[in-house]
Assembly symmetry: C2
Homo-oligomer: 200 residues x 2
DNA sequence: GGGTGCATGTAATGGGTTACATGATTCT
DNA sequence: AGAATCATGTAACCCATTACATGCACCC
């Protein structure tokens, strides 16, 4: 086969770097990490235990994080990990390299693209569900922004956090607008096909 | 471990359905499919040969598509696939089920979230590169919309295609706006930290 | 007694990209 | 001569989610 080789250089995934980032906020256990993710970067990042635990193991072996086992009464022991100097360095290096986005698979658009192969109402339902989800998300983002400004005032991390929230707000707002316009368009198509049927 | 089970029901991936959709536009070979993808749904969907060929095989076995081998002079034989009635039915069924989106991993936002762990200029470069890419994408979308309207006027698929282009335009426009705002914000942070350094 | 939360990890499974294998023709 | 295009397929590999295995404490 030919080349097809514009040097993608994927260079592995960002999982370990995400872990380092989380540990830069506070030392924590693998179990805790899942909860922290849900409450912080969960809207644009996810990690499962099947990723977190092996990542922590590897990072420990590489000397980027340190493990301290805390014995607890009643509950199982926790392995609390914290960043080492090397880990902080690696995190910084990773942050200096601009992210290259890959084309995400968008099933909504795929279905819409082939929309003429099914009923117009099918497309409408699809878009309606999408708009509803975006509207919910927008409310959530507004809540997060308010809460962060109130509870984290003065934190040097705050402006960066707010930028990610703002991303969601711009994104969500635009897509709600698109969705409503698209629904109008679909209504038009539905009327046209109804008229055609009536004429026969 | 507890439940953690809200019934995700992923039910497999959309690859075979995407293939059916493409064949609904015209019969074609696996090789051709890659090219058609690049020229149509490539901005929000991708498939590699390693996916396409096995999918076609499975769909043939299931009776959703039909294979006809065309002998060519000079060039290797091509296996041209076309939809069967069953395949058209399956495509339609899939289109009737609204898409459930998964949280995509956004490396840009991840880096921005941890932006305080590196230089402000690192975040700036990241966002600048992002904005530049979105601007390019917007120009591409505008070109596609114009071309489609000119060359596909009257095609019943056209309105659906334009809806997907419009998605990209709304999306891209919003994110350029976000990016520029964010860059201003980052400039502010840079000035503040410079002032602080100067005071010492 | 049964579910839930805390807590750690491994194994199985699935999905996807990339690389490999093959080979004729055409363009530079 | 070397590279690209046409063309099909398989195999190796990577990443990620889910399921499994284990076990104590607490609450209803």
């Amino acid at each position: 086969m030919a080349k097809e080789n514009v040097s993608k250089s994927k260079g592995g995934t960002a999982t370990p770097d995400a872990v380092l980032g989380l540990l830069s906020m506070a030392p924590m256990s693998g179990y805790e990490m899942r909860r922290v993710i849900a409450q912080s970067i969960g809207h644009f990042w996810s990690e499962s235990f099947g990723q977190i635990y092996p990542a922590l193991k590897r990072l420990t072996a590489e000397g980027c994080v340190e493990k301290k086992t805390e014995r607890q009464k009643g509950r199982p022991d926790r392995n609390v990990y914290s960043l080492t100097a090397k880990g902080r360095e690696r995190l910084q290096e990773w942050l200096e390299v601009p992210a290259v986005p890959e084309v995400p698979r968008n099933e909504l658009l795929l279905k819409l693209f082939f929309g003429s192969r099914a009923s117009v109402s099918a497309s409408k339902e699809n878009v309606e569900a999408f708009v509803a989800r975006q509207k919910v998300a927008l409310k959530v983002y507004a809540g997060i922004a308010k809460e962060l400004k109130r509870e984290r005032a003065g934190d040097p991390q705050l402006p960066f956090w707010l930028m990610t929230v703002s991303y969601g707000q711009h994104y969500g707002g635009a897509l709600v607008k698109w969705g409503l316009e698209t629904l109008k368009e679909l209504d038009g198509l539905e009327r046209v096909s109804a008229t055609k049927r009536a004429k026969r």
